[in-house]
Amino acid sequence: MELTRLSTSQLQQQRRRIGMIFQHFNLLSMATVRDNIAFPLKLAKLSKAETKKRVDELLQLVGLEQHGNKYPAQLSGGQKQRVGIARALANNPDVLLCDEATSALDPQTTNSILSLLVDINQKLGITMLLITHEMHVIRSICDRVAVIDGGEVVEMGDVVDVFLKPQHGVTRDFVSQVADSFDPRELIATRSGRLIKVNYIGDITYEPLLFNAVKSTTVQFTILQGTVSRMKNTPYGQLVIEFLGEHADIERVITDLRSKGLEVGDLK
């Protein structure tokens, strides 16, 4: 549906199918937590009893059962965002838009809000769209990511792919904020062996692939630099390895690694 072409009242109807949370929460300061959550329900003309029941459910979902009658000024930032989330979910929307939802929060609170979002995502099966400049937010809860530069989508794909193999300059800049970006030139200058870079994603991360590849050969290896970690639930590794040994053996090892699904590139 082309939302920008709708009439005012059609747009109002569609907007009720979309939940939205904001960087600065945007709660009614003069209304209690309950009344804030009830706001979209009143717009949808729910009865008093239904509204009360739904608000109770939502308070429980976001863990604010104790705070229903407080005013936003009496809550912490994280609690305010929980109210925002409850309000956004009130009418069972199809999509939840999170506009820099954690940018005004401290790291611990950010994590608690993120785990709440993941929890809701799994419980309710609702699609979530996060707008953020915080890379760790994307790494910890997103499945797919699109990079926008100057109003254009310049890159889009699974989070693991985009983070490990950024194509666009803007993406590389963003990703380098979180990844241990390394400069291999110094290594290339000082090491004598064959330097290669290995990338791998998925279950093979936890298999002894390197050992298996070299054990029947003369090749020895040293890991010079690297990361082995997880992105959301996907394990991945990025290593810089030096191989020492006979040339033909090293070639065999590399072919072997490639056949197991590793991505191998020469640095020297």
Binding site: Q12, L27, S29, M30
Partner: protein, 221 residues
């Protein structure tokens, strides 16, 4: 010099006080209704707001500025024909209420506009994102969020109306101002003057205290 209290007639003072309270109450009520409507329209039609009608805003703004720049005593005299058309008389309590409302409503409308501007834009944006209509935003967001500011505006307007009611004595309005003018000024009865002024001071104090209490009571920040 001891002030002689021989000219005080309690019944007259009481009647004048009652008249002042009636004029104040009725004119405040109409001022709030009219000024609230005008203020909301002013706010909505101003730039980058929900209706954004610069021409409407400009025209309303001029009318309001004109009404606000005319001194109340002159305005009262100028609109006598209108007053007569509405109430049938230009004298007494009834004849005073239309000029009071016409003078105070534009003033109050400006205060309403200012109070609404203080409402966080983000909250309006959130209400729009939730699919609220413009009227829904006015009713459920703007008037609710601006409540402390609106209560303070009503207090200021009420105090202003008290002084306007007193002025209306000049052209034959009723109330304490009329009493002070006829007895205190024209008949040199200083004691009557003092009593009416003290009563007006007490009235203003009470209004201000009540207003301040309500503002505190409804503040959530």
């Amino acid at each position: 010099m001891m002030l002689k209290m021989g000219n005080i007639i309690p019944e007259e003072i009481w009647k004048a006080t009652k008249d002042t309270l009636v004029m104040l109450g009725v004119s405040l009520l109409f001022t709030i209704i009219l000024g609230l409507i005008l203020g909301v329209i002013l706010f909505l039609t101003s730039r980058r707001q929900l209706l954004a009608q610069p021409i409407v805003y400009f025209l309303m703004s001029i009318v309001i500025n004109v009404l606000r720049s005319v001194p109340f005593v002159i305005l009262m005299i100028m609109i006598m024909p209108i007053t007569k058309a509405i109430t049938g008389t230009t004298l007494g309590v009834k004849g005073t209420i239309p000029p009071l409302v016409i003078a105070a409503a534009p003033f109050f409308a400006r205060l309403v506009e200012t109070a609404l501007r203080e409402v966080d834009r983000g909250v309006i944006e959130a209400a729009q994102a939730m699919g609220a209509s413009r009227w829904g935003i006015v009713r459920r967001v703007l008037l609710l969020e601006a409540r402390p500011g609106l209560l303070a505006s009503i207090t200021i307007t009420a105090v202003t109306l008290v002084s306007y009611t007193a002025m209306s004595g000049v052209i034959g309005g009723g109330g304490l101002g009329d009493l002070a003018l006829r007895h205190g000024y024209q008949r040199f009865q200083t004691d009557v003057m003092v009593v009416t002024v003290v009563l007006l001071i007490i009235l203003v104090q009470l209004l201000q205290m009540a207003g301040d209490y309500l503002v505190r009571r409804f503040s959530r920040k």
